[in-house]
């Protein structure tokens, strides 16, 4: 057992963390979030140059990371800074490409910052179920043509290419018959509608009408599971980063805000609730460690651990966010304080890649299978 990051990984995380602290303070973050495109190409280019993106991809595919704990180290920092840039899509898309093989050039472009990818799988009615998709693809001579829609794709407008899942055979709910395709943003029939998110990020709806796509795999389900597992590890650690920030800022507030002549942190009822918050954060961190550790493991253990983590993060995240607002009193309700933005992002993480109930049910299923 060893609970320390390797020296290289620690260095990357520290470099990244320092960069964000200096170059991505909360005022800058709000400016970027409020801008028309809703992310910062300039920061992105710098991060690519720093090599941060390479931490998301394994050495064999051109990066120098890609393990659960590499992803953890990077997304923890993202969470602390509430960064809105297209990291999640980059992770999931490059991981897909690495798994199917043969796209090292494109991966290289992405890691170097020359190209951006989005990952579009969820649909308006799939409700987190990986097999519940209606988009479909049909052969047209040598080509594949895609039809259908994808919902709430993170930073969709930023993408040059989009990885899209679509049925090539079988029915909703079946594991077999799902394909993954690489679709050009500029391809015919692609309609992108972008919009802001309540948490300050940006996403988009994707519509495809007879859009040509390059088939990446016709047996996508195992790839989807692995890639979504990596996404969950990422979101879990983003949440851990946020929760640590919320804890620190809430403790600060409890120590400095006075009511009835004393710092409100002196009130025992608040102390005991804050102790519970701190405990839940440690349990959430353990869940995130378990998921990162299991990302490389066999399927049943991996899926069980990521579902346990996403459930835990969902439950603890809501508790931590709600308690932080409550303990901040009215001030926690204001745009002005960062805590409200941390809280919004934390709760919204529960709406990505499966919520508490979804993953609890999934954990039960994988438990019975094991």
């Amino acid at each position: 057992m060893d609970f320390h990051h390797s020296a290289e990984r620690s260095m990357l995380a520290e470099t990244f963390g320092r960069f964000l602290q200096k170059r991505y303070p909360v005022e800058v973050r709000h400016e970027i979030s409020a801008s028309a495109i809703g992310w910062s190409p300039a920061h992105w280019a710098e991060l690519a140059e720093l090599g941060v993106l390479c931490g998301l991809v394994s050495e064999t595919a051109g990066g120098f990371g890609g393990s659960g704990f590499d992803i953890a180290a990077i997304f923890e920092q993202l969470g602390r800074a509430m960064a809105v840039e297209p990291f999640l899509g980059t992770l999931m898309a490059t991981r897909t490409l690495a798994m199917v093989g043969g796209h090292d050039g494109l991966i290289g472009d992405v890691l170097g910052g020359a190209s951006i990818l989005a990952f579009a799988h969820e649909e308006s009615a799939s409700r987190y179920d990986l097999t519940n998709i209606a988009a479909h693809a049909r052969r047209d001579g040598d080509a594949w043509l895609l039809n259908g829609g994808k919902a709430v794709v993170p930073q969709l407008e930023a993408a040059d290419d989009i990885i899209v899942s679509a049925r090539i055979a079988g029915m909703k709910g079946e594991r077999a018959g799902i394909g993954l395709f690489l679709v050009k943003r500029a391809a015919p029939g692609v309609v992108v509608e972008g919009y802001p998110l309540i948490d300050g990020g940006r996403a988009g709806e994707l519509q495809l009408v007879d859009t040509p796509g390059l088939l990446l795999t016709d047996d996508a389900h195992p790839v989807l599971e692995d890639v979504v597992a990596a996404g969950i590890v990422a979101l879990s650690w983003e949440a851990v980063g946020i929760m640590d920030m919320i804890k620190a800022t809430t403790l600060d507030y409890l120590r400095t805000r006075h009511q009835f002549g004393v710092p409100i942190g002196k009130f025992q009822a608040l102390q005991h609730r804050m102790a519970t918050v701190a405990l839940e954060i440690e349990q959430a961190r353990s869940a995130a460690i378990n998921a990162a550790n299991a990302l490389q493991g066999d399927r049943a253990k991996r899926e069980r651990s990521v579902s346990a983590a996403k459930y835990t993060i969902g439950r603890a995240g809501t508790l931590v966010a709600e308690e932080a607002i409550q303990l901040h009193g009215g001030m926690g309700m204001t745009w002005e304080l960062p805590v409200s933005h941390f809280a919004k992002r934390l709760v919204m993480i529960g709406h990505q890649l499966g919520d508490e109930d979804h993953h609890l049910a999934r954990f039960i299923r994988f438990g019975q299978a094991a």
Binding site: E122, Y195, L270, M333, D357
Partner: protein
């Protein structure tokens, strides 16, 4: 014991329903139902309709323009307007200042202000909280110094809801620094157009402008705007808080939210079936539904016990806590029900003029924002921690 309504009461319910059907503007009800922004004029329109029917000030005695309802009637009315998606009557004039003036005001004050509340001449707001006095309300610092025929007011109020629309504000101000901090407080009515009054918006976490800071700099307030006696304002404020808390049960509003949630859960799908049939989500709904049904009866016990909407402090504190918890849980479940579509938030889409396309189901647009906004329920109007203190002191005698 008997919890059932009498035939007369059921007839009254029917009367309310047909009134709502006939007079509640569909445009306004639709905005309430779908969580769109209500403008000042929407509130004023509905206020005027209720006033015309004589049903605006449901808790006022008839001699001042109240309808003279029993508590059961008031309860039925509250339930029906909520279920019809009528806007909530802005409470500051009708539900808060009105009862205080009726009980503690001079006859001149009553004659002047009460009709203006009813006919909508004055939009009132409430000046209680200060930056340094939230839960510890009595430590407020805004000062009013008597100078001949007026007070000179200096200080700052905060969390003032819809002050940007207000003509008048009722304030707790410090008129004496002697004795206990509760002892030197007075209850003052201040014209928002007075020189030296400045309103600054506070933007809340979902980006809305609903609350404000108000700064008073050498504001002159005529002495006839003092309500009751000088330095007795704490007594009036406590009277008013009891009123406020009972109403914070908001049984009608919760009932309407529950119905709306069930509708969403029937529409949203999970694994090819309505989300409402998912055992875990169905259990979540059922738990809050049972809690609400229990609270309805707790609320009725309070109403029946007191014969008026002023309630024993303990139970009203419980109603404030549980009522806000229930509405927060309902908002939370609506957010959860949306799945990924809880994330998009196009603020302009909450305006009725919005012409752009909507993202996700038509009910989705404002639900996450509503969830975050509803976090205020357990903070404002006497935080739920303050309510627990009240229960501890008043009833548990600890």
């Amino acid at each position: 014991m008997n919890l059932d309504f009498t035939p007369d009461e059921e007839r009254f319910r029917a009367e309310v329903r047909s009134f709502l059907k006939a007079r509640l503007p569909a445009r306004i009800a639709d905005k309430v139902r779908t969580g769109k922004r209500l403008h000042k004029k929407d509130h004023e329109e509905w206020h005027a309709i209720l006033h015309e029917r004589g049903w605006l000030a449901s808790h006022w005695p008839p001699e001042y323009g109240g309808p003279g309802w029993t508590t059961a009637q008031a309860h039925i009315f509250d339930e029906e307007v909520s279920l019809a998606f009528a806007p909530r009557v802005i409470p500051f004039g009708v539900s808060m200042l009105g009862p205080v003036l009726i009980k503690f005001g001079t006859s001149a004050q009553k004659q002047h202000w009460l009709p203006r509340i009813l006919d909508g001449t004055d939009w009132w707001c409430q000046g209680y909280s200060e930056p340094g006095a939230g839960s510890d309300l009595a430590s407020l610092k805004t000062s009013a110094v008597r100078q001949g025929d007026h007070y000179l007011v200096n200080g700052q109020k905060t969390w003032t809801t819809l002050a940007q629309y207000a003509d008048m504000i009722f304030c707790l101000v410090r008129t004496s620094a002697e004795g206990k901090k509760q002892a030197g407080i007075s209850f003052l009515l201040i014209d928002m157009k007075s020189p030296g009054v400045e309103v600054r918006p506070i933007i809340t976490l979902e980006g809305e402008h609903e609350v404000n800071e108000i700064f008073f700099t050498d504001v002159r307030v005529p002495v006839e705007n003092l309500v009751g006696e000088e330095n007795m304002g704490w007594t009036y404020a406590k009277y008013l808080l009891t009123y406020e808390r009972t109403s914070e049960a908001r049984v009608g509003a919760a009932t309407a939210s529950l119905a709306f949630l069930k509708q969403i859960a029937q529409t949203e799908e999970k694994g090819g079936r309505p989300l409402a049939e998912d055992p875990l989500f169905a259990a979540r709904i059922a738990r809050v539904e049972i809690d609400l049904e229990n609270m309805k009866t707790t609320n009725l016990r309070v109403l029946a016990g007191s014969g008026s909407s002023a309630a024993p402090l303990e139970l009203s504190a419980m109603l404030k806590i549980r009522g806000t918890e229930i509405r927060q849980e309902l908002a939370s479940l609506a957010r959860i029900a949306l799945g990924p579509y809880a994330q998009p938030f196009v603020s302009e889409a909450l305006d009725e003029e919005f012409q752009g396309s909507r993202i996700g189901p038509d009910y989705a647009g404002g639900l996450a924002a509503h969830y975050f906004n509803e976090r205020k329920l357990s903070i404002f109007a006497g935080s739920n921690e303050v309510q627990r203190e009240i229960i501890t002191k008043v009833s548990l005698e600890l």
